[in-house]
Symmetry: C2
Subunit: 183 residues, 2 copies
Amino acid sequence: MDRRQAKTRKAVMEAFTNLLEHKSYGNITVQEIIDAADIGRSTFYAHFETKDDLLRVLCEEIFSHVFSEKPHKEKTHDFSSGTYGMAEKVTHMLYQLDDSRSYLRGILAGESSDIFMRYFREHLTEIFEDALQKKTKKIPRDYLLNHATQSFAETVRWWMAHGKYKPEELCTFYMEAVPFFAD
Amino acid sequence: MDRRQAKTRKAVMEAFTNLLEHKSYGNITVQEIIDAADIGRSTFYAHFETKDDLLRVLCEEIFSHVFSEKPHKEKTHDFSSGTYGMAEKVTHMLYQLDDSRSYLRGILAGESSDIFMRYFREHLTEIFEDALQKKTKKIPRDYLLNHATQSFAETVRWWMAHGKYKPEELCTFYMEAVPFFAD
DNA sequence: CTTGTATCGAATTATAAGTTCGATAACTTT
DNA sequence: AAAGTTATCGAACTTATAATTCGATACAAG
């Protein structure tokens, strides 16, 4: 890839995530991103179709870490054993999300958290489909899957807005609140 | 109240809810509301500070029904006994929400459902605070309250978007999924 | 060196929100 | 019924921001 393109792209992403640390997505204008990245207006639009497109790209970047299989260096867990239960998977995702904490707060604050949450849940649905109990007594599987993914996404939002807990703690909260996973 | 004001207000609310049956809140312009209500532009702004203010007013109207104490005429339950458990309260709310189904779909579809959901959860929090179990083993009460309200709001959103279930059925799903209420 | 591609940025277009104000019509009070 | 008050109308205006255009310039790669 052209060095210039890479440079521009990096500048935009850095400017964007920096801005997200101080204000919410909806209150950031394209002009601010352009100024912070120190690039020309048309250059921005040569890289990203719209402002929402930029957010989508950032989300995908975050997700590529969050849903990556390669183990993150957790302090208290050893995941090199090979078989992951749901608790381990959840903890892994939470560790990855913690790394993006500084700008996730800005994405999840206020109105436009919906954009992130929608993408997030799309990805989560794939993962959670297999993990849910096969037999659900009185509840449609459809409803339960929606409930489990939505609750996890909301757990993350709550975590980002509130005092700091460790990923392992959050995992416990979530697994207690949504006890519908197969062993 | 001045007949003219009442007329205008009614026209706006009807135009707005009608539009919400066909498209989502974010895609409705003030101009469309004005045209549909057949009123002057400045008249709209004499009644509502902003477009979001109009949505807020509509939400408050819906909530005043949903959270009303007066029993709705449910088909299968007799609520005249006096003591309501959580299941009864939940079913009652679901019946009231069902009445607003036609335009709730438009409010809850797409991006800006957040505005409704935020108001909704504020009201729900008050109600759910008392109903939750006093002792929660491993989970902060704060997290659990957030989980319970969010899950209820999300249950309603899911309901509005999916095939029709009866309020009693939805209540069962919710109580199964979030079993943290005191008896 | 030459050719293609990226960048710059000022000017422009598009869209929608919200404001202003004078004229007119509908209510209210005396 | 006349006088006074308030609501409505609506066109024109302001403001805000997103997104497009395009010619000039700078950089990269064969």
